[in-house]
């Protein structure tokens, strides 16, 4: 815990103090916050009232519990001038296959300001799981964002398990880590494919899409489900892997890793591709820290923060993880970080397969806590830090809060696109890896 006296001085105009990087999250009652203490290299939890985030950012992290309200998810960015108008892009568009709107202030070509508007597809998940048992709630939580399902399931389950005081077998933690790393590779490869598509790199797009499909098939073969739904729960569809299966899997993944290396080398050799993403959607390191960027967006700004190495209960602490860091803050830097993470994740998967010596151990049903108890679960999702705050009452979820990577990064995306042009939109959007369903809840 850092003391209040160690906090930086009051910033003009915000009406409050905040640490250098405050990560508040949309908790159930908003009373707790998670902060990354960069100097100490660890995460600390403290009452939010002591150190509020900048109010303009806090307003965009409104609790997702009730859902249902269509609302801006980045600070207002008023700009006026001759011929300016607001162009609403969405909520339905094929360019962004999810439903969400972008209010673009423009005079026809340049984007002078952009405010993303979310809430169209709010499924009221956090509100609807209250009162459910943990396994039933997990079925909905893992569908909060289909392509980050392993991260959401792991964060939620670890919060619920800490609240219940249950101990989880080490092997189970490794299985969850394996699921997360497979999904991280899929997501990063998918992001690179989408950026390549926007840049009209047709061969590269097809090849990268094919690799992403191969990763989905690997997930399907290991966990029985292409998107890992149910795979991390007791009684899920996951397979038992014997030594031979693991060897085969390891060979397949080594082939995919080699394919990725070749593709990435070709991408970096393409001047048109690199030119297109360089200086696009730039986030400055100071803004990233001030507004609390997470994940590859943060690491592309020169901050080597990763929950996998910072959260004390993480199963990664005795694995080799090479953490990338770039300083550009633009779409290129984010893609370089992602490419590096793909390689790092393939190495992690190898280590995890080596350790997965036994069949997945049966999870003991934790004895329900007598009094309501509350705990946090925190994992590094493919797009960054994901926090769950779960209160259990008996064996049921009494209340739940969540702060997703997309919630944290949406304001940065909006600001990064300022002064870009329309064609920059997709490069910036895809490179952040934002998911509307993770914001809407």
């Amino acid at each position: 815990m850092i003391e209040s006296s160690e906090l930086p001085a009051r910033r003009p105009g915000t009406g409050g103090t905040h640490p250098e990087l405050a990560l508040a999250y949309a908790a159930d009652d908003g009373s707790f916050a998670v902060y990354n203490d960069y100097s100490a290299g660890r995460a600390v939890f403290r009452p939010r009232s002591e150190t509020p985030p900048p109010p303009e950012v806090a307003a965009t992290w409104r609790r997702t519990r009730d859902g249902g309200q269509v609302r801006p998810v980045a600070p207002a960015d008023p700009v006026e001038g001759y011929g300016l108008f607001t162009f609403p892009y969405g909520p339905i568009s094929m360019g962004v296959p999810e439903s969400g709107r972008f209010d673009v202030r423009t005079y026809g070509e340049r984007i002078l300001a952009l405010v993303p508007v979310a809430g169209y597809k709010s499924r009221r998940i956090l509100a609807s799981v209250c009162g459910q048992t943990v396994p039933d709630a997990a079925l909905r939580i893992e569908r909060l964002a289909g392509n980050f399902s392993a991260a959401h399931a792991t964060a939620f389950l670890s919060a619920a398990e800490s609240a219940a005081g249950a101990s989880v077998p080490r092997g189970e933690l490794w299985v969850r880590a394996l699921a997360q790393e497979l999904q991280r590779v899929y997501n990063h490869v998918h992001v690179i494919a989408r950026v390549a598509e926007a840049a009209s790199q047709n061969v590269g797009t097809a090849q990268t899409q094919a690799l992403a499909e191969e990763m989905l098939r690997v997930q399907g073969s290991v966990f029985g489900h292409r998107w890992l739904f149910g795979a991390l729960l007791p009684a899920g569809p996951r397979r038992r892997l014997d030594a031979g299966d693991r060897r085969d899997l390891s060979n397949v993944l080594r082939r995919h890793a080699a394919t990725f290396d070749r593709l990435w080398e070709l991408f970096l050799g393409s001047r048109t591709f690199v030119d297109r993403i360089q200086s696009t959607g730039t986030v400055t390191p100071s803004l990233a820290k001030e507004w609390g960027a997470v994940g590859p967006t943060l690491r592309a700004c020169g901050v080597p923060w990763d929950d996998r190495l910072r959260v004390p209960t993480s199963p990664y602490t005795d694995l080799f993880l090479d953490l990338p860091q770039e300083s550009g803050g633009d779409a290129l830097a984010r893609l370089l970080v992602r490419a590096h993470e793909v390689r790092a994740s393939f190495l992690l998967i190898e280590q995890l397969l080596d350790r997965w010596t036994t069949t997945p151990e049966a999870l003991e049903a934790p004895a329900p806590p007598v009094a309501p108890s509350r705990a946090l679960g925190r994992v590094e999702s493919p797009s960054g830090d994901l926090v769950y705050d779960v209160t259990l009452s008996g064996d049921r979820v009494a209340s739940i809060g969540m702060r997703s990577a997309s919630q944290a990064n949406f304001p940065l995306f909006a600001r990064g696109l300022r002064d870009g042009v329309f064609t920059d939109f997709h490069f910036a959007w895809e490179s952040f890896g934002l998911v509307f369903s993770e914001v809407d809840g």
Partner: protein, 247 residues
Amino acid sequence: MPTWIGQAVRHGIVTSRYPAEPASEAEVPPTGRPPVAVKGSKLLPAGASLCPVGAISDRAVDRGRCIRCARCLPGGFEFRGPVESATRTRTGLVTGEPSPAAPEPTPPLAALSRSVHVFLVDAGSCNACNLEVLALANPFYDSQRLGVFFTNSPRHADVLLVVGVPTEEMVEPLRRAYDALPAPKAVVAVGVCAISGGAFAGTPGLHDALDQLVPVDVYVPGCPPAPVHVLDGLLRVVGRGRKAEGA
């Protein structure tokens, strides 16, 4: 020095033979098939008590509700149903119910059997269905070889493909997209969220069934359906679907 053309040649052809040939095991993971009671209907009551979404009743399995969570497997169920489980009617997804042998209706867009243009609407999904639909463009499935094209405007589309459980906020955008489609048009509901609400059925503020908002022509069950299932559903719109195995 590696080149893109060299990489493409080295990669070779990976495109699926579906629907000329049955879907391979790689294309459909275990959960890609609907669950069936291995030893017949006497297992249904046991399955009903295990099912968290009410897809299994004492008399039938409703494929339009099943989210493939695998909880019924210890009760004697297996993921052994047909890959081609898309239907033209909602009741067709309920298996085991004695039905008055309703004839399969004629395909809604049979006249467009050689080329069909599709517009995707996300009414409230988790993004997995969206990505599975987008995967149809990848070299493994390459929907264009079958004349299935995705458009950027509902005005250029013949088929409205809807994923996700419709939220209150998406009802109006959804209706406007539907109205913008020129006739003749068809609607495909992809995923159990759009068919019945799936894992979210019964939540206030959500519309459990898409077919109460717009008329639905083809139902594609799954959570999410794999790309071959989506392809099967789209081909069923124009009457080119593969005959279900064992049907």
